[in-house]
Amino acid sequence: MKCHYREEKRVQVSPPLTRGPSAFIPENEVMQANGLDERTNLLVEEYSTSGRLDNITQVMSIHTQYLESFLRSQFYMLRMDGPLPLPYRHYIAIMAAARHQCSYLINMHVDEFLKTGGIAEWLNGLEYIPQRLKNLNEINKLLAHRPWLITKEHIQKLVKTGENNWSLPELVHAVVLLAHYHALASFVFGSGINPERDPDTSNGVRLIAVNNFCVCDLANDNNIENASLTSSNFGNVMVFLQIADSLSELEALMERMKRLQEDKEDEEASQEEMATRFEKEKKESLLVISGAFDDEIVSTDVSRYIEDPGFGYKDFARRGEDHLPTFRAQDYTWENHGFSLVNRLYSDIGHLLDEKFRMVYNLTYNTMATHEDVDTTMLRRALFNYVHCMYGIRYDDYDYGEVNQLLERSLKVYIKTVTCYPERTTKRMYDSYWRQFKHSEKVHVNLLLMEARMQAELLYALRAITRHLT
């Protein structure tokens, strides 16, 4: 662990002293895992838009298999044939990242935006961009925080013929980008990605506007919250957990998984119970929440890219409000419906995303912490479905009781924070769950959360587009 971390927390301007790509993961973990192997380098060489090995890539390279499909799809949406002009793509990425105040991604894409010939003026904020792009704000906001609110009316408004209308392929491209960067922001915060140690500020490429961004960096943000968290109630609970507990924690989890697998046939929950279990899980996700963050400080560097900054995730299952219909996963699946639509309007991206989703869902090394030869399918499915559950997507064929058994409370807190309010993620949250697990496994968790979130957003958006089409 890095000990510089806490000491530096009050210093706003200085770059973080934690070396390496992540503030959460010790540098040697990342380096040793990938050893910057040849494969990663080749991948970076091929797919990186910036031409350098950025921190995200470094952390992801722990899972090289996945990295390939990730980079490939990202490269495709940023650089290959597509309906949107290149600077638009990067600007949309900026808009998406700004929803989660992810300055890391914003910085990165401000650079790319300029490099691809974007108009520097746009970087002054939303007032300076064309109305057409501005119209994306609404859908960006909803998609980021409450995708279930997207209706076909939103789509209609965007594609309605007029001066600033979006064609469907353009819109799909934009939606894919938005979802991708919302989800990637989750990953960035969830894995505590450090700001890039700027190798090329000197070459005169950066404009003044860019330099503003370098000031705020992730580790500092986290430090502020760290401080506030120690005083918040649940933070305290974590502090007292002992290492000894964590060992038994792991054993208990293994035990539970085994039991779930075996008992499957014996104990058959009644149908009503299954239904209520989903509701329960949905409701419980309500309680799983960190302290109050109402007075969030959004720096102006970020806020100029967003409208309505107060709009955030609101629990799908909040009581006392209109009952929103649950999204039945079987009625609109990625494999059957989402894929076909997205691929029709933005060719080939479907295959790339499909491969990425499959990859992350099936990725396993059959290990759990120190144990080997473990079938982690259950655990992966629980993580994936729990994220979807928070977005109100229900799988008929899933027993949500499993989520409760497999995902401990601290993990749920982490999941919820990373997927719904990634900007509030702290190192403490990251450390407090699954303490016996390896960092690479936690990165795997982050990948699962990221992809689950992206798929959930895409499903809602694509469903709205489908409804618009019919």
């Binding site: 290149l86 404009l207 046939e265 079987q330 064929d397």
Partner: protein, 789 residues
């Protein structure tokens, strides 16, 4: 539903009759299935599970199987199947992974019979054995297929698809023990029901999930599969390796396929997304469905032929919550709406025309194509007596008309395209230059237009009025018809035949000719007489009356291409010049490697023409009482429209680009876009790639600007193993070798790679260039004499 047909068919004592009809369901349907006697249909979905009887005039709800206070997920059906042996037996696949059987013979309200909860994920498909009463098969998302004996509580055997989700299972009709299963990864497996340990056969049928399959009802080795890749494929399973015998490309992913009873080659399909229609294809004619039912307003989820031996009744359920009975007589037949004639030009002005034989071949002594490209040629497809299409005869003839190379010459177009200057200089200079180009090519009216544009927009004075008059006079003189079919070369026999053909072909032939004239004759020189407005008979008369005259005229007016013009140096510089192009966001790739500052430079530079213009106009307005140039905008607009209308889109686009902002607002976006696309298309047909790129870059239409970004991929094969290199251009994934080494410096080439077409050695552009300046041999030492041009 006006055109309703009443159909009655007798099927061995069992008579089916009915009309196209539908009923509203309360909820979207996921699947439907019919009872053996074709009198009842069951509809199942997430919130519906009902049996309807099919009456003469309507559907009548018979039974609601969703009973109980709180409907459980067991009722949420993904699939339903009605046993073809026992009319009381049904099975459903629930989205929560339960397989349920239903016994309609039960006296109680709840007909639920057995519950199998062995699958862990959604069950996608259930299927009864065609002859065995108690055998039920299910396929699930969890990757397992299970066979149930309905007399027992648990499954009899489990077949593992290796954790690949099963999308469909179907018992073979021929082999008692065989069933086919389709998978999400594109595979199809054949299993023997007695051997659960391993599949008998497996092959990859589709790219992506195979959603459905269906065994042919008669030709028993045939299996049809439909996939997300929008294909329907028919496999012959009789051979040791499954052989694809037919393939139909649809427009959306295929959700269901069902062979049409009694019609060996017909198959009904519906799609999972976007497309709501049901198609019936003749698999031998994969390009156009033979029938189409367009009633549904949302995707069709279930289709089933009403009776096993009746090809005229199709039932369908849909997400739009309706259940339909379609009668074949009411089907729409896309073939009726399809254009049975095809017409296409080649680059050299040859015209191919395909049409139904009856329209063309009243002429019996026409000779078939004998290989001489100078003559009109005819292909004829004989009707295959074994093929029997219900609706159309498929015999058609293809005629190819050739134009004489000389007369069809479009050299003026090429020259103009190459020589016009479109940007990079002040407006006045551009106009002057272009006027000169046009004049040089004897296109006086165009030259005049350019001159006038200059006067209007920059009024640099001193245009000689004499010049004006002169050109005017010349413009109105009779000008030769440059392009027409020149039949002179055709030997008399054939020539007269083809002429005969034309006159007999009547209106149709006229059409071709008219089309040809309006497309081919893009020449300003004859705008007085030409244009698409020209009545067809005039042209036709011309051609038929006096071909020799036409020919003579061509001779009298020597062609422009005989004159030599040197290209102005700055017309199309190798490096892109920077233009005032506010809506062009995408010439970024060019700039990607240059520092951002260049963006600013771009803006200042681009302003130059405008500035110079304003300065000039001010100085002149001192002594000239000028009208504002806006005053002429409508006239200029009309001019452009006129040229475009005449088919000279070149002039229209060139003027548009040169004038830029001054005129852009006068013409609506769509028209502009249309012009640009036409011009670019023409340029590309003449392989003027650089110029077409120039035009794309200079265009101010967003849609056009994007063109430069599309298809920028170049696919290469590895020089070692000759296989495509999918990932990067310089290293091969398979043989792990760097494929493109520079022969000079022996480093990998990642940027521009130039290679000799003779010996295929090459390397960095710069290196090769340098090398070949001093040496004439290949740098690789292969001894080839390479050339760098």
């Amino acid at each position: 539903m006006e055109k309703m047909a009443r159909v009655t068919t007798a099927l061995g004592g069992n008579t089916l009759s009915g009309r196209t009809m539908f009923c509203h369901l309360d909820a979207p349907a996921n699947a439907i299935s019919v009872c053996r006697d074709a009198a009842q249909v069951v509809v199942a979905g997430r919130n519906i599970f009902k049996i309807y009887s099919i009456e003469e005039e309507q559907f009548v709800e018979k039974l609601n199987l969703r009973v109980g206070r709180k409907p459980s997920l067991n009722f949420s059906c993904a699939d339903v199947v009605w046993h073809q042996m026992d009319e009381n037996l049904l099975a459903t696949a629930a989205t929560n992974g339960v397989v349920v059987t239903w016994n309609l013979g039960k006296p109680s309200r709840n007909k639920q019979d057995q519950l199998f909860t062995e699958h862990k994920r959604t069950v996608n498909k259930v299927c009864f054995h065609p002859t065995e009463v108690y055998m039920l098969l299910s396929g699930s998302q969890d990757g397992y297929m299970k066979c149930f004996d309905l007399r027992k509580k648990d499954s009899v055997s489990t077949f593992s698809g290796q954790s690949e989700s099963v999308r469909d299972v179907q018992f073979s009709i021929r082999d008692y023990f065989t069933f086919a299963a389709t998978f999400e990864n594109g595979n199809v497996q054949l299993w023997d029901i007695r051997r659960p340990d391993r599949y008998e056969r497996m092959f990859t049928a589709h790219n992506g999930p195979v959603f459905c399959c269906d065994w042919h009802l008669e030709d028993r080795g045939w299996l049809a599969t439909g996939g997300r890749d929008k294909m329907v494929k028919v496999w012959d399973m009789n051979t040791t390796r499954a052989k694809e015998i037919y393939c139909v490309q649809t427009i959306a992913s295929v959700a269901r396929v069902k062979w049409r009873p009694e019609c060996k080659h017909h198959i009904a399909t519906c799609s999972m997304m976007v497309d709501h229609n049901i198609y019936v294809w003749d698999v031998r004619r994969p390009f156009i469905p033979s029938a189409m039912f367009e009633e549904h307003k949302d995707v069709t989820t279930g289709i089933v032929w009403r009776h096993l031996h009746d090809p005229y009744f199709l039932l369908s359920g849909s997400k739009d919550s309706t259940l339909y009975q379609h009668i074949f007589k009411d089907a729409s037949q896309p073939i009726d709406r399809a254009n049975p004639e095809g017409l296409c030009y080649s680059l050299y002005g040859d015209l191919a025309f395909a049409a139904k034989e009856s329209l063309i071949s009243s002429d019996s002594n026409r000779k078939p194509y004998i290989g001489d490209r100078r003559h009109p040629i005819f292909f004829k497809r004989k009707l295959d007596p074994t093929e029997q299409f219900e609706y159309i005869s498929s015999s058609s003839a293809l005629s190819v008309f050739e134009t004489d190379v000389e007369s069809g010459s479009m050299d003026w177009f090429v020259h103009t395209a190459k020589q016009y200057a479109l940007a990079g200089r002040p407006l006045a200079e551009l106009c002057d230059h272009n006027a000169k180009v046009a004049k040089g090519l004897d296109r006086n009216q165009v030259a005049q237009t350019w001159t006038m544009l200059r006067i209007i927009y920059s009024s640099l004075g001193n245009v000689s009025s004499a010049n004006l008059n002169h050109s005017m006079g010349k413009g109105s003189a009779a000008l030769p018809l440059m392009n027409s079919f020149n039949l002179k070369d055709i030997p008399s026999g054939l020539g007269s035949e083809s002429r005969l053909d034309r006159s007999k072909g009547e209106s149709r032939t006229e059409n071709i000719l008219m089309d040809s004239s309006s497309t081919l004759i893009n020449n300003e020189d004859n705008e007085e007489t030409e244009g698409s407005d020209v009545p067809a008979d005039y042209l036709l008369g011309d051609v038929e009356a006096d071909e020799d005259d036409l020919y003579m005229m061509d001779h009298e007016n020597p062609h422009a291409e005989e004159q030599e013009y040197s290209l102005p140096q700055e017309a199309f510089p190798l490096r892109h010049e920077i233009v005032d192009n506010p809506s062009a966001l995408d010439h970024l790739q060019d700039k990607a490697d240059s520092p951002h500052v260049s963006g600013n430079e771009a803006e200042t530079v681009s302003l130059t023409p405008v500035e110079s213009f304003s300065l000039i106009s001010i100085s002149h307005s001192l002594y000239e009482n000028r009208l504002p140039s806006d005053f002429f905008s409508p006239i200029v607009r009309d001019t452009l429209l006129f040229y475009a209308e005449q088919g000279d889109v070149q002039t229209a686009v060139s003027v548009l680009i040169v004038l830029g902002e001054r005129i852009r607002k006068e013409i609506d976006e769509q028209t502009q876009e249309h012009w640009y696309t036409s011009y670019i298309d023409l340029l590309q047909r003449f392989q003027l790639w650089n110029i077409s790129n120039e035009v794309i870059k200079l265009s101010t239409c967003r849609a056009i600007n994007c063109l430069n970004q599309a298809s920028t991929t170049l696919h290469v094969n590895c020089s070692n193993c000759k296989r495509p290199m999918s990932n990067r251009g310089w290293i091969c994934d398979r043989c792990r070798q760097c494929a493109s080494m520079c022969a000079v410096c022996h480093h990998v080439v990642k940027g521009l790679f130039v290679w000799c077409q003779g010996c295929s050695h090459g390397g960095h552009l710069q290196h090769i260039m340098k090398w070949l300046e001093t040496s004439s041999h290949c740098p690789a030492g292969c001894g080839h004499l390479c050339e760098y041009t």
